[in-house]
Symmetry: C2
Subunit: 142 residues, 2 copies
Amino acid sequence: MIHYHLDTSIETLERTECDHLLAANSLGRVAFVDGDVPNILPVNYALFEDTIVFRTAPGHKLSAIPMHHVAFEIDGREGNETAWSVVVQGQAREVTTAVGERYDRLRAADLPTFAPGDKDHWIAIESAGVSGRRLRLGIKAD
Amino acid sequence: MIHYHLDTSIETLERTECDHLLAANSLGRVAFVDGDVPNILPVNYALFEDTIVFRTAPGHKLSAIPMHHVAFEIDGREGNETAWSVVVQGQAREVTTAVGERYDRLRAADLPTFAPGDKDHWIAIESAGVSGRRLRLGIKAD
């Protein structure tokens, strides 16, 4: 009788691979605290140098106060047997009117929006930490 | 000269369609507050009646305290021109040892895990609110 078990492993991703995945994707999710309660918002984003940039609608809670702790996440599958995720934790702040050549370039990014409408609030996440992992799942006889 | 503009709209999803999408998918993300700081965790989940169920590893922050406010999110694309997302807000609590026939059936779910390892903590999210939206993006001449 053959017994099967899951042959699984978790691989921690190098920072360079996290950066590559952040640069290669465009759909992420931002988790933030609204009052005492967490909320989560899917966003289209761009990576500008080390900064994650996205736009929100006027009046959105994320643009209502100047600074937020956030967690930003992307994930994906590579075929049926591998999945990966990258999480960035940091501070989100509105940079719609931030002054400086860096912000001018940041706001020139061609940034599609997940939700259509007036998206005139630019939010930047200054990363305080990046972590990533890849998971391999496979069936193996023992 | 033809001018093009984005013809965009947001459609709020009916609860029945949110439930259908929750039943039809298996990869979601849980946002929770860890101290004062939001965090986000990709999970494989199952929908059991109205309850979202997933497993975490022993020692994970989500299983360290009995109850959490969480936001749970799934999203996807339908071709290049439509995207959707569903967000469930509610209370997450560990039900690993919860007593009752309902919990026995819940823990009998065939629930693959996103991260392999010892996944002997069962977490259930009792929904306090479900919202969903579908976004259509199209180019239209005016």
